[in-house]
Amino acid sequence: MNAPEAGSTAAQIQARAAAFCRLTVKKSNLPGMGAVFSAAVKREWRLQVRRKGDLINPLVFFALVVVLFPLGISPTAEILAPVAPGVLWVAALLAVLMSLDGLFRPDLQDGSLEQLLVSGYPVAPLVLAKLGVHWLLSSLPLVLLSPFLGVMLYLPWQGHGVLMLSLLLGSLALTLVGSIGAALTTGVGKSGVLITLLVLPFYMPVLIFGTGAMQAAIGGHPAGAHLALLAALTLLALALAPWAIAAALRIAVSGE
């Protein structure tokens, strides 16, 4: 395609070759994708560990919402035990959603989001670094907290393992899908209700399979099928959501 034209002189070809070489040299001077990814992980880790309130508040929210149900419905075990899977899952789902609200806003305000987008590196893996750290720091504690709240709701013992397993798988899908909403509402000042409106319809399949797995386990049936479907949803979200988030972030930055 780029064969030198018949009339081009030796000097022109030489100049073109020099330009080409400079380009490759410049390329190899840039850090590789792996180095950039690990730098992004380190940055996210430092930033999010230092924002302690943002990490603890969703956990408190989770516990508080769970406490509302015995007060609102009935404190007896006969009534609480059957609704415990649903209550725990709904509360955890809302807590994950609440933790996502301000995920990208600080980066937009201090300009680092724009730097990320113009850096020339693929955005999706870098977004994944952020989400991975966020999931590790905010969803994993949620999973660890859930059995204690389960005991308070008289969740049958055979449900606890599946509760943690389904939340472990499900919270990953919730984080990924919810981040699309968080990215879309990055430019909005405070978006607490808006992100809920956008994201909750997409959360319903995850909720269905998560509580389905728990109810199967409590009823003495194998929960594998539900967990497999939950894992399938999580993998699908893992494959598609980063691209949607990257596109949404581009849109948000273009509005600044």
Partner: protein, 249 residues
């Protein structure tokens, strides 16, 4: 034919041409709406035979079914308009998407309400957590989400692209939601109730239904064009041709 369609497509990308071309389409859509809907309504409500099990209450399907048709296809149209906007950066696609969203939400609402009204004589209850009803309700919330996002985001281009992306994400999710809700329904309610298998409808029943479906699609075209044209005038109010039109009237 292909070239003619391509030219039309490119012309519709310009606000001025869009306004002029669709102006000549409006009476056709209006006429088709009035014709199909009046024929379908009178035929369906007065002359179609009664259902041997449900009596006259089945006649609500002449509103319910077309509305449910539109509720689903309008979301698809919105996503297609979103793809056109994001890929070809065609601003008119966003005008159409913006016009489609409230119409789609209204159709979903009509489908839900007529379904509830039909449920009272047939099921004896206004609402059932049936898989279809539930996924329709979720679809309604999806529409409200798109509308709310457009309200919240400030520069128009940003709101347009964000809504397009949300509509595309929604289209990927609709089948997942649909199948998971089906799954959930079979999980929680093992066949407490089954719709009696109806025999294939006689032509005197489905012909008016077909009329109503065509009428609803014509109504969709009519109302979306009206909304889109008003939106064009609002967005392009600085353009000379808009001033001319406004001063002429």
């Amino acid at each position: 034919m292909w070239n003619w369609l391509k030219t039309l497509y490119h012309r519709l990308g310009s606000p001025k041409w869009f306004y002029q071309i669709t102006g000549s389409w409006l009476p056709w859509f209006a006429g088709a709406t009035l014709l199909f809907m009046s024929v379908g309504l009178v035929w369906g409500l007065a002359y179609a035979p009664m259902d041997y099990q449900q009596g006259n209450s089945f006649r609500i399907i002449y509103i319910h079914v077309p509305a449910a048709f539109l509720a689903q296809s309008v979301y698809m149209m919105m996503a297609v308009a979103g793809v056109v906007l994001l890929v070809w950066k065609m601003k008119m696609a966003d005008v159409v998407a913006q016009a489609l969203a409230p119409v789609g939400a209204a159709m979903t609402f009509i489908a839900l309400v007529t379904g509830a009204i039909w449920g009272v004589p047939t099921w004896g209850t206004w609402w059932m957590w049936d898989a279809r009803l539930t996924s329709m309700l979720i679809l309604f919330f999806l529409y409200l989400g798109v509308i709310a996002l457009r309200e919240a985001l400030k520069p128009q281009e940003v709101a347009a692209r964000a809504c397009a992306l949300l509509a595309i994400v929604g289209v990927i999710n609709i089948p997942i939601i649909k199948y998971s809700v089906d799954w959930w329904y079979t999980l929680h309610q093992p066949a407490t109730f089954k719709l009696t298998e109806k025999p294939a409808m006689p032509a005197s029943m489905w012909l008016p239904l077909l009329m109503m479906v065509l009428g609803f699609y014509a109504l969709l075209g009519w109302s979306v064009l009206l909304r889109a044209r008003a939106e064009i005038l609002r967005r392009e109010f600085k353009a000379g041709w808009v001033r001319e039109i406004l001063q002429r009237k």
